[in-house]
Homo-oligomer: 225 residues x 2
C-alpha cells in the first residue's frame, strides 16, 4: 500500500518533470539541479557564480529550503531573479518536486532566462529520487563530510553528472583523504566528473565556471541568433 502510493507519487512527478523539460527546452534554458547535505556550500557557490557570470548570461535561481528565506535573500542581493520555495508548507518535505518547480517557474520570465539554477533542499537522500526537468544534476560535497559519503549515499552520486568538492581550503585541517573520496565516487559512478574548489577562497572556481559555460554553449550557442 505504502509502496504503491510512492510509485504513484514518483510517476506523477515524472509527468510534470517532462512538462518542465519541454518548457525549458522551448525557452532554451540550461537548468541545473544542485543537491548536497546541509551546509555543503551550495549557496556560496551560487553567489560566486552569479558574480562572475551575470554580465554574460541571464541567470535565475529557484531556491529550496525547509524553512526561512535566508538563502534567497543572499542570492537576490546579486540583482537576479530568485524564487523561494519553503517546504514547511508541504509538510516539511525533504526534497523539491517537479510541481513545486513548475509553480516557481510561473514567477519567472522564462523567455529571458538562459541559465536556471535550482538549489535543492539540503539532503543527500530524498532529492535524488525526484526529477525536476533539469538538464544536469550536480552533487556538491564538502570536504569536511569525509571520503566515505559516495559509498554511504550512493543514489545521489549515481544519478549526478558533476561532483563539486567544496571547501578544499580546509584540506590541511581535516582528515579527509581526497584521493579515496575520488575513488569512492568513481566506484559508484564512473561517469561522474569531479571538480575541486573552494567557494570561500575561489580556488578552482574557474574550472566550474568553464564547465558551466561550455555546457551552455554546447547546447545553445551554435544555433543562437
Amino acid at each position: 500500500m505504502k509502496i504503491q502510493v510512492l510509485t504513484n507519487v514518483l510517476k506523477a512527478n515524472q509527468t510534470i518533470a517532462l512538462e518542465n523539460r519541454r518548457s525549458f527546452e522551448k525557452n532554451r534554458i540550461l537548468v541545473l539541479n544542485l543537491m548536497s547535505s546541509p551546509g555543503a556550500g551550495k549557496t556560496l557557490i551560487l553567489e560566486r557564480t552569479i558574480e562572475k557570470l551575470k554580465d554574460d548570461f541571464n541567470l535565475a535561481v529557484i531556491e529550496g529550503d525547509v524553512a526561512t528565506t535566508n538563502d534567497a535573500e543572499r542570492l537576490a542581493k546579486h540583482q537576479i531573479p530568485v524564487v523561494q520555495i519553503t517546504t514547511e508548507s508541504f509538510g516539511g518535505a525533504c526534497h523539491l518536486d517537479a510541481n513545486m518547480v513548475k509553480k516557481a517557474t510561473e514567477k519567472l520570465d522564462l523567455s529571458w532566462v538562459q541559465i536556471l539554477f535550482i538549489e535543492n533542499i539540503g539532503n543527500l537522500i530524498c532529492p535524488a529520487e525526484f526529477v525536476l526537468g533539469e538538464d544536469k544534476k550536480i552533487i556538491v560535497l564538502s570536504l569536511t563530510e569525509g571520503e566515505d559519503k559516495p559509498s554511504k549515499y550512493p543514489l545521489a552520486f549515481r544519478i549526478s553528472d558533476l561532483l563539486l568538492i567544496n571547501k578544499i581550503d580546509l584540506l590541511p585541517h581535516v582528515d579527509t583523504d581526497l584521493d579515496v573520496l575520488l575513488q569512492n565516487a568513481q566506484k559508484v559512478n564512473s561517469q561522474l566528473f569531479p571538480i575541486k574548489l573552494s567557494a570561500k577562497t575561489e580556488e578552482g572556481l574557474e574550472n566550474w565556471l568553464n564547465w558551466l559555460v561550455k555546457e551552455y554553449q554546447s547546447r545553445f550557442q551554435n544555433n543562437s541568433s
Copy 2:
C-alpha cells in the same frame, strides 16, 4: 490521500516506539537517538565515547545507514555489540523507524545493555519525524555547516534535548559564527542544551561524557542493585 497514508505511517510508528520504550524501561537501558547531517561526526563521537566509557558501562549501538556497513565496522572494533540497519533494503529510507529499531534490538541481549546509542541516518529532516522509543534525542551539528542550520532545519532542533556542536577545532578556519549559531538554536528551542566539542582533538569531550553519565545515573543509579 498521500497525507492520510503518512498519518497512518506515523501512528503505526508511534505504537511500535511505545513498545520499544516499555522494553527499554523494563531492561533499565538509557537510549539515545543521535541525528545529524551526513558527515557531522556522529560515528567518531561514538568511537571516542565507547573508548572512554566501555569499562564503566555496558554499551551497544544500533547503526543506521542507507548503504555500507562501514560505520558499524568502525564501532565493532571497540569490542561492543553493534547492529547495523541499512535502509537500502527499505527503498533507501531517509530515517530509521521504530520497527527497524525493534528488529535490531532482537539481536541484542537487552538485559545486559545499559546505554544504547542509536546512530540515525545522516539527514537533518526525516529522522526528526520518527520516534524510536528513545529517552533523549541528540542533534549533532558540525561547525562547518554554518550558523544558520537551526533556523533552516527547525524541527530536528526543536525536538532535541541536547545539541553537540562538533569539529570546534576548525573554528579558526571557517566563517561560522558560534555565538550566532547558539542564538539561532535557542530561538528554535530554548530548552536545547549545547555542548561544544571536537571528537578529533577531544576538546570538550568530557562535558559530553559527564552529561551522559549524569543522565544515566539520574535515571537508574539511585535504585540500582
